[in-house]
C-alpha cells in the first residue's frame, strides 16, 4: 500500500497529509501517520467545531478548571470541589448496544477520576427510534443493560437521565453519559506530564487490538459498508478492572504519588503520551516494548491506536515509582513503566529496537486543521415555521391525555432506571424519576443537584431557542430541589458537519446555549461534540444535551418531590400564562403526527424570577410537591403528579390548547391551603405570575371548562397508560 492510500484508509484528507509532511519536513513513518490520523480525527481534534466552541461563556469565580482538561471542576466551598463531564458513545452503541453503552460509562468515569475526584453519580441521555421496531427495542434494552451492567458493577450510582424516541434516531441512537465526581481541593490532579525526568507509568488493563481506529474513526465518518475487514473490533468493558483502577488512582492521589494523570480513551496511547506532554510543554520518550499486552505480535501503530479500555497513564517523580507500583500491586492491577518525560518538545516512540516516531508532541494536539465549514440558514426553515396546524374544534381532551401519557418519551421511565443502582454511597436524597437528582455531601450541609436535558424536536424547529430552553429548563429543575446552577457541560449531537444546514444548526445551538448561560451566569466547563449522526444521508434532529450541576447550601431538609401531593391541597401554576402555540409539543407529535411551526422563545427575565421563586419556596417549605411543566404541558404535569402522589385532581381551564402548550419557565406545585397566602406573597415579590388551577382529591383527573372539552379520566386509567407504556412494549 502506498502512503497516499494509507492516509486515506486512515481517514485523512490529502491536505491533512501534506500538512503532516510539512510539520515533519519529510513523509511520516507508519506509526506517525497512525498517531496523526487518530489525533486529528474529528472526534479527538474538534476540527469542525473548535472555531465555534469559543463562544461559550466559561468563566465564573467558582470555576477551578474550565474546558480543555478531562473534566471541568467547580468550587463548592469549604474545600470541596466537584468535577463533571459528559461524553457520547452513539456509534459504538449502534454497533453493539450493550458494550457500546458500557464502555461509554467506563470512559466518562475515567475522565472524572483522572481529575482526582471520586465519581459519585452518573446520568444518561439515551434516544432511539420508535419501539414499534424490533431492532430499536433491541438497541434500547441493550443500552439500558449495558449502562446497568457497567455502572452497577463499577459501583457508581446512576441518579438521572432522559429517554426519548423519534424516527430520526432509528439508524443512529444517541447514548450520552454524564459523570459527577467529588474531591477535596488538595486532591485535584491535572493531565500534565510534569517536568523532564518524570516517569510515565501505564496502569490497568492489558493492551489488545481493541477498537483500532474505533471511537476516533468510527465517530468521525459515516460508516462505509464496504469496510467490513477494517471494521474495528468491539471493545468490551470490564467494570471490575475499572473499579480497581478507581481505587488505585484515588490512593495514588491521596498519597500524593503522581504529578499528573491522563486517561486512555479515544486515540489510546497516542493521546495519553502527547496531550500531557503538550500541556506541560515537554517532550517524551515512549517505549512500546514495555506496554503490557493481551495479544502477541501487535505492531507499533496498533499499540499506539489501540482503544483498550480501563487504562490510565500516571506521570510520576522517579523516586516515587516504586510506591506507585506498590499501590497498583495492592489493588491487583498491572502497571508498567513505559516512558520518560524529556526536555524540549519531541515525542519519540520506540518499538522493537527502532525509533518508530519522532515528532513535536504539540503538533498532534494543537496543529490539527481547523475547519470553518460553511453554514447558512436552511432554505426550508421558513417553510417549517409556517407549517402549523389550525385547530377548529377541541379534541377529546381525556382521550388525548391518555395517548400522550402513553407516548414512550413521556411515559414512566422506571423500566429503565430500576435497572440502575441509584442509591450506592447513601447520598441519594432525591433519585431518578424526579426533575433533578439531589445528592447530599455527607458531613456537610451541602447537597449537589444534577440533571440533564435534551429535546431534538424543539432544536429541529429552532436550534437557537430550543438549545437555550434546555439550559433554562435544567436550571429550573435543579432549583426545584433547592439548588442554584453552578456549571453546565454540553454534548452536541449533530448530523454531518459538511452540510451547511447542519453547521447552521450547530452554530445556532451554541448561540442559544451561550445566551442562556450568560443570562443565568452559568459557565460551560466542558463538553463533547458528536458529528456525523446520520443514516442514509438523513441527519438526526440537532440534539444538544445539557448536563447541569447545582449546589444547595444548605441542603433543604425536606426537598419537594413529584409524589408529595395530598388530598385537599391546592394546585397552583407558576410562571407565564399558557401560550397558544403547540409547535413541537408532545400533543402535536403524538395526536397529530405533526412536527412543524416555531417553538416559543425563552425569556431570561421570567426564567430568573421563576428560579428565584422556586428556590425560596423550597427553602420555606411551602410545598411538598413541585413539578415542572415541560413535555405534554400542564395536563401531563398534573397527571404525573397525581399518578405518583396517588391522588386525583380537578382543574379548571378555559382553553384546551393551554393544557398541552409547552411554553417555558413554568411549574406546578401542591400547596396546603394554609400556605396559599405566603406563596402568593412570595410570587408577587418575585414578580412571577401565578394562578390557582384547582385542588387535589378524588379518583379522577377532571378538566373542567365552560365550553366544550371538559374531561374526566380515571386516575387508574392514567396510571395504566403512563406506567404500562414502556414495559408493555418491551415485554
Amino acid at each position: 500500500m502506498s502512503d497516499i492510500a494509507l492516509h486515506q484508509a486512515l481517514g485523512m484528507t490529502d491536505d491533512e497529509f501534506e500538512h503532516v509532511c510539512e510539520i515533519l519536513e519529510r513523509p511520516p513513518l507508519n506509526s506517525e501517520l497512525a498517531m496523526y490520523s487518530v489525533m486529528w480525527s474529528e472526534h479527538c481534534s474538534y476540527k469542525s467545531s473548535r472555531a465555534h466552541l469559543g463562544r461559550f461563556p466559561t468563566e465564573a469565580p467558582w470555576v477551578v478548571v474550565g474546558p480543555g482538561e478531562n473534566a471541568g471542576v467547580v468550587d463548592l466551598g469549604d474545600g470541596w470541589l466537584a468535577a463533571l463531564r459528559i461524553e457520547s458513545h452513539n456509534h459504538p452503541s449502534f454497533v453493539e448496544p450493550y458494550q457500546g453503552a458500557a464502555t461509554g460509562v467506563g470512559g466518562i468515569l475515567r475522565d472524572v477520576f483522572t481529575m482526582g475526584a471520586r465519581p459519585i453519580a452518573l446520568l444518561n441521555q439515551i434516544r432511539f427510534g420508535p419501539l414499534s421496531n424490533a431492532h430499536n427495542r433491541y438497541l434500547f434494552s441493550g443500552v439500558v443493560s449495558g449502562i446497568a451492567g457497567y455502572g452497577n458493577a463499577v459501583g457508581v450510582p446512576t441518579v438521572g437521565g432522559e429517554i426519548a424516541f423519534e424516527d430520526c434516531y432509528s439508524g443512529n441512537p444517541l447514548v450520552n453519559v454524564m459523570c459527577v465526581g467529588l474531591m477535596r481541593r488538595d486532591q485535584l490532579v491535572l493531565g500534565t506530564a510534569g517536568s523532564p525526568g518524570a516517569v510515565a507509568v501505564l496502569l490497568g488493563a492489558a493492551t489488545g487490538r481493541d477498537g483500532i481506529g474505533g471511537a476516533s474513526v468510527l465517530a468521525s465518518a459515516s460508516f462505509d459498508e464496504g469496510s467490513g475487514a477494517k471494521r474495528p473490533s468491539v471493545q468490551v468493558g470490564d467494570p471490575f478492572e475499572e473499579k480497581k483502577l478507581i481505587e488505585a488512582c484515588l490512593e495514588l492521589y491521596e498519597n500524593k504519588l503522581v504529578l499528573g494523570v491522563q486517561d486512555l480513551g479515544a486515540a489510546g496511547l497516542s493521546c495519553a503520551a502527547s496531550e500531557p506532554a503538550a500541556r506541560a510543554g515537554t517532550g517524551m520518550d515512549l517505549n512500546l516494548d514495555a506496554v503490557h499486552v493481551r495479544e502477541e505480535g501487535m505492531s507499533a501503530p496498533e499499540l499506539l491506536m489501540s482503544e483498550s479500555q480501563e487504562r490510565m497513564m500516571a506521570f510520576v517523580d522517579p523516586d516515587k515509582v516504586d510506591d506507585v507500583l506498590a499501590v497498583a500491586a495492592k489493588w491487583e492491577i498491572d502497571a508498567s513503566v513505559v516512558g520518560e518525560v524529556q526536555p524540549g518538545n519531541t515525542l519519540r516512540v520506540f518499538h522493537d529496537g527502532h525509533t518508530v516516531a519522532e515528532l513535536p508532541a504539540s503538533s498532534l494536539t494543537d496543529d490539527a486543521p481547523i475547519y470553518r465549514r460553511p453554514f447558512g440558514e436552511p432554505y426550508w426553515i421558513e417553510d417549517l415555521w409556517t407549517n402549523t396546524i389550525t385547530y377548529l374544534n377541541p379534541p377529546n381532551v381525556g382521550h388525548a391525555l391518555l395517548k400522550v401519557l402513553a407516548a414512550p418519551s413521556i411515559a414512566d421511565p422506571s423500566w429503565a432506571y430500576e435497572q440502575f443502582d441509584h442509591q450506592l454511597f447513601l447520598n441519594t436524597v432525591v433519585g431518578p424519576g424526579s426533575d433533578a437528582a439531589l445528592l447530599r455531601i455527607k458531613g456537610t450541609d451541602k447537597a449537589l443537584a444534577m440533571t440533564s436535558d435534551g429535546h431534538g424536536r424543539y432544536c429541529y424547529l429552532d436550534p437557537r431557542r430550543g438549545s437555550a430552553r434546555l439550559v433554562y429548563e435544567a436550571a429550573l429543575n435543579v432549583a426545584m430541589v433547592g439548588a442554584r446552577a453552578l456549571a453546565v457541560v454540553d454534548n452536541l449531537n449533530f448530523g454531518n458537519p459538511e452540510k451547511p444546514d447542519v453547521m447552521w444548526q450547530f452554530t445556532q445551538s451554541i448561540e442559544g446555549i451561550s445566551e442562556a448561560c450568560e443570562a443565568l451566569g452559568i459557565p460551560v466547563v466542558g463538553g463533547n461534540v458528536s458529528f456525523y449522526n446520520e443514516t442514509d444521508e438523513q441527519d438526526i434532529y440537532p440534539t444538544p444535551v445539557i448536563g447541569l450541576l447545582g449546589l444547595a447550601d444548605p441542603a433543604p431538609a425536606r426537598p419537594p418531590t413529584v409524589d408529595g401531593a395530598e388530598n385537599g391541597m391546592e394546585l397552583w401554576m407558576f410562571g407565564p400564562r399558557h401560550s397558544r402555540n403547540l409547535a413541537g409539543s408532545a400533543f402535536e407529535k403524538t395526536i397529530k403526527g405533526h412536527v412543524g411551526g416555531r417553538i416559543d422563545s425563552p425569556d431570561s427575565t421570567i426564567a430568573k424570577a421563576a428560579i428565584d421563586l422556586v428556590i425560596a419556596m423550597v427553602e420555606d417549605e411551602l410545598s411538598p410537591a413541585i413539578h415542572d411543566i415541560s413535555d405534554g404541558g400542564v395536563a401531563v404535569a398534573v397527571a404525573e403528579m397525581c399518578i405518583q402522589s396517588e391522588v386525583g385532581a380537578t382543574i379548571e381551564f378555559t382553553d384546551w390548547i393551554g393544557l398541552f402548550a409547552e411554553n417555558p419557565h413554568r411549574f406546578i406545585a401542591a400547596i396546603p391551603p394554609a400556605l396559599a397566602g405566603p406563596v402568593e406573597e412570595l410570587a408577587s415579590y418575585h414578580m412571577v405570575p401565578i394562578s390557582k388551577l384547582g385542588r387535589f382529591g378524588g379518583e379522577h383527573l377532571e378538566f373542567v371548562t365552560d365550553g366544550p372539552g371538559s374531561a374526566r379520566v380515571l386516575l387508574r386509567d392514567a396510571r395504566t397508560a403512563w406506567e404500562g407504556a414502556i414495559p408493555s412494549r418491551m415485554a
Binding site: 443493560s145 446497568a148 451492567g149 452497577n152 458493577a153 463499577v154 459501583g155 470490564d238 467494570p239 471490575f240 478492572e241 473499579k243 480497581k244 489493588w331 491487583e332 422506571s414 432506571y417 430500576e418 435497572q419 440502575f420 443502582d421 441509584h422 442509591q423 450506592l424 454511597f425 447513601l426 441519594t428 436524597v429 447530599r440 455527607k442
Partner: protein, 232 residues
C-alpha cells in the same frame, strides 16, 4: 465490639455498611480480602458489590480469598457473620449457607424498595425484630434468585432457617410479591446456629428517613446485639 467489613476487589458497599454500623454506635473497620487475621474482631460483614467482578459465578472466586479462612473460623466459633447481597452469594459458595443465587427471573437488574416479612427472630439479623414484622428495604441485585435442591429446601424450611421472605406491604407472601423468582419468596436465611445469616436486599440503604426508609436499622441493631451476646 468491633466488626470487620470485608473488602474484596470489586466490593462496593463497604463504606455504606461501615457508615450504617457507626450510625448506631458500633465500631467497624474495613478489612482487605488478603488479610489473614481477624482475631481482633467480634463479628464480620461481607457487604454487597461485585467481588472479583462476579465472574464465572457470583461469589465463586471470592470464596477463595485468603480472608475467607478466617470468616469460616469465626462462623465455626459462633461469631456473628453477616452477608448482604453479594455477601450472601459468597457465603453460599463458601458452603456456610445452603443454596445458590441465580439470575433474576426476568434477567434484569432490580434496584427498588421491596418488602420483607420477618419469619424468625432467632438470627443475628432479626433478633431485635418482631416475628411477622414487615420491613421496607431496597433490593439491588441481578443475581438474587434464591434456589436450592428440593432436599435442601425442605431441610431449611423444616429447620426454620428462613428468616426473611418477600411480601407485599401488608405482609402477604405470594407470587405477586416475589421480585426475582426466589423459591419460597426467600430473601434471607441463616445457618442452623443462627450466627451466620444473609439477606439479599440492602439494610444499610434503609437506615435514615431522608433516604426513604429506616427499617434496615433493626437489622444492624440485631447484629450489634448479637455481637454482645456472642461475647458473653
Amino acid at each position: 465490639m468491633t466488626t470487620a467489613v470485608v473488602v474484596f476487589p470489586g466490593t462496593n458497599c463497604e463504606h455504606d455498611v461501615v457508615y450504617a454500623l457507626r450510625a448506631i454506635g458500633e465500631e467497624a473497620e474495613l478489612v482487605w480480602h488478603r488479610d489473614t487475621d481477624l482475631s481482633s474482631f467480634d463479628g464480620v460483614v461481607l457487604p454487597g458489590g461485585f467481588a472479583h467482578g462476579d465472574y464465572l459465578r457470583t461469589g465463586a472466586i471470592a470464596r477463595f480469598s485468603p480472608v475467607m479462612t478466617e470468616v469460616v473460623r469465626m462462623a465455626d466459633a459462633g461469631r456473628p457473620v453477616l452477608g448482604i447481597c453479594n455477601g450472601f452469594q459468597v457465603l453460599c459458595e463458601a458452603g456456610l449457607l445452603p443454596g445458590v443465587l441465580l439470575q433474576n427471573r426476568d434477567l434484569k437488574f432490580i434496584c427498588r424498595p421491596i418488602h420483607v416479612r420477618v419469619e424468625h427472630t432467632n438470627s443475628i439479623l432479626t433478633r431485635a425484630a418482631r416475628e411477622g414484622q414487615v420491613l421496607e428495604i431496597p433490593l439491588n441485585s441481578y443475581e438474587g434468585n434464591f434456589t436450592a435442591t428440593d432436599a435442601t429446601l425442605d431441610a431449611i424450611e423444616a429447620d426454620a432457617q428462613v428468616i426473611l421472605r418477600y411480601c407485599n406491604p401488608a405482609g402477604v407472601v405470594d407470587a405477586a410479591a416475589n421480585p426475582n423468582g426466589s423459591l419460597g419468596n426467600i430473601a434471607g436465611i441463616m445457618n442452623p446456629g443462627g450466627n451466620v445469616a444473609a439477606v439479599m436486599p440492602h439494610p444499610e440503604r434503609a437506615c435514615e428517613d431522608i433516604l426513604g426508609s429506616s427499617d434496615g436499622r433493626i437489622m444492624f441493631e440485631s447484629f450489634a446485639a448479637s455481637l454482645e451476646a456472642a461475647n458473653v
